[in-house]
Symmetry: none
């Protein structure tokens, strides 16, 4: 019954918040946002239904939290490159991108689950768009340096292709989609 230090309490709080986020991410991506009840999230995170609302003020708020949480994980894993100069760097960046997707399938499943849901569209843009635009810029710079006449369009094409490949991989499951080969092909075409 000894009093905990504030830091310890803060830590515990974060732990519980994290637990909720992980549970929500998993359940949202497995069953979809609409088919996941707050109840089931509460149970999985071993938090009472009421207490959930002390951490997130609504289901949508929790979703936003999950998206930020996922994005942060991705950022960490991401190969932080300010610019791409050589084919090797380009190739490396692309491969790193798919490695990241492979190690965050759950999150990306949720991503594609939500991407076309108008209800979360605004939220979505707020959280993801800036991140993506910066990513496209990175490639744009590379293509420009290679003398591409329309580096912007090429970069967008690349980005869209990556998106499409990821979607296919996530949807069909790792065993059914020959990710390796397709990515090789992608690199050859764009490098």
């Amino acid at each position: 019954m000894s009093p905990r230090t504030e830091k310890q309490i803060e830590k515990l709080k974060q732990d519980k918040e994290l637990l909720i986020l992980e549970s929500a991410l998993l359940l949202f991506s497995e069953k979809g946002f609409g088919n996941t009840s707050m109840q089931s999230i509460a149970i999985r995170s071993k938090v009472s239904k009421g207490n959930l609302y002390n951490y997130f003020k609504s289901k949508e708020d929790l979703l936003e939290g999950v998206l930020h949480y996922g994005l942060n994980q991705i950022k960490e894993l991401f190969y932080e490159q300010s610019s791409i100069h050589t084919e090797e760097e380009f190739s490396y960046t692309i491969r790193a991108n798919f490695e990241m997707i492979k190690s965050n399938e759950t999150f990306w499943k949720l991503y594609y689950n939500l991407v076309a849901q108008p209800k979360v569209y605004a939220l979505f843009n707020k959280v993801f768009l800036p991140f993506f635009e910066q990513y496209i810029k990175l490639f744009e710079g590379y293509f420009k340096s290679k003398g591409d006449e329309k580096p912007e369009a090429t970069a967008l094409l690349l980005g869209s292709s990556i998106d499409g490949i990821s979607l296919g991989y996530i949807m069909m499951g790792g065993d059914n989609y020959p990710l390796e080969e397709v990515v090789n092909r992608l690199i050859e075409k764009f490098k």
Copy 2:
């Protein structure tokens, strides 16, 4: 007071079914399947809630109807080509594909809304997969004829790229996504 011919009645029935399908397609794609109530579909199609069930025996059945309805529209618009031999034919096929997407944005919005929804995944595969696989085969043949060493992977890459471009276009809206230029780039890369 003259009695309608059976054909006329049949026509009326089809009209109403069509009305329901159109309403459902629009609402599903605008608000998502889970967030669209049968009530709202009934109101929009000017049909009583109960009567809806004379046309479709459940909400899922209606969704299946909508998917088939959309797929049929697409098939009609589709450039029916049994094989692709020249760059011109290839280019034409790709462009025709995006023209089709542009004239069925509503449907494609629904498509991307559903593609990652676990609950409708099975239904989804049943309706779309066969169609898509055939499409990929078409390109595979073209790449093989061009001497591509891994035509299968290339075709899948192309398919995924098309998917990604469509997703981007549908999500960002026609004004924000430079579809024309991206498609030009795509053709140049793969032709």
Copy 3:
């Protein structure tokens, strides 16, 4: 297209009415009154839903029709005896009663289905009670002639016992209830 005589038409009408009654009896007794839809009755009798209401003005009206129909069948089969004088007659009457039940199991299943449903209680009394009371009187007379001090109570006991045996037989199914032996016992006790 030759005109039918009125009698023929009347005949057809009766046939269709009969068909409806038979279907309703079967379905009501199999699935219960509340769980049988007018639709299913219409289908089984090959009559349109709308036309059903030309023969019976409501579902309850149809039920009443079914009860009368069943009761008439029973009356026909019943051993019409104005009085019982000997043990043989008594024994015969009892056995005839159970023979009748065995050949109308469907109807009796419906009977016990409804007997405690307050909603149809009034209807019930109207149709059945007079019939039963007369039946009890028959036995009362026999017991009185035998010198029973309380023939009324004995007759009611016998009636109730018959009721209970029938209920058991109908509910447990012919194979699980040793009707023969129980009836033998009943006759021995009361004759």
Copy 4:
């Protein structure tokens, strides 16, 4: 503002569950299972519709609860006899049985309401059959000890007679059925 003990809370919960059970028992027996809405049960128990489902997970589950509740009440009232040896004991057991029925008319009305309902037949058997079979065995032992040649059939006859008498008494209402006299007659015949 003093916190309630867990036991108090548990008590309150039981009270509410009891309230629901009593309401359901009454309504089911008055209007039948199928004609009683969860709404009406909620109103009568002064519980919100939604909360009902915190106590019973479905309407059928509630019915099962009601049946067990009723059966337990009966068991308590029941004269617990492991065996019957004398006429006095026999007579006492029979009378006790009908006393029990008289003090639980509501429950027995429900019983006869359900006994022939195909939809709840399985549930029914699960809850009641074991109880009844044991009861019949009790009488079988008595008849055997008296030298009855077919004690099994006699016991079943007695059981069916009791069933029939109860049905008559419950259906016709206490004032219209001369229970006392009929039971006296029953005892005389079987003792």
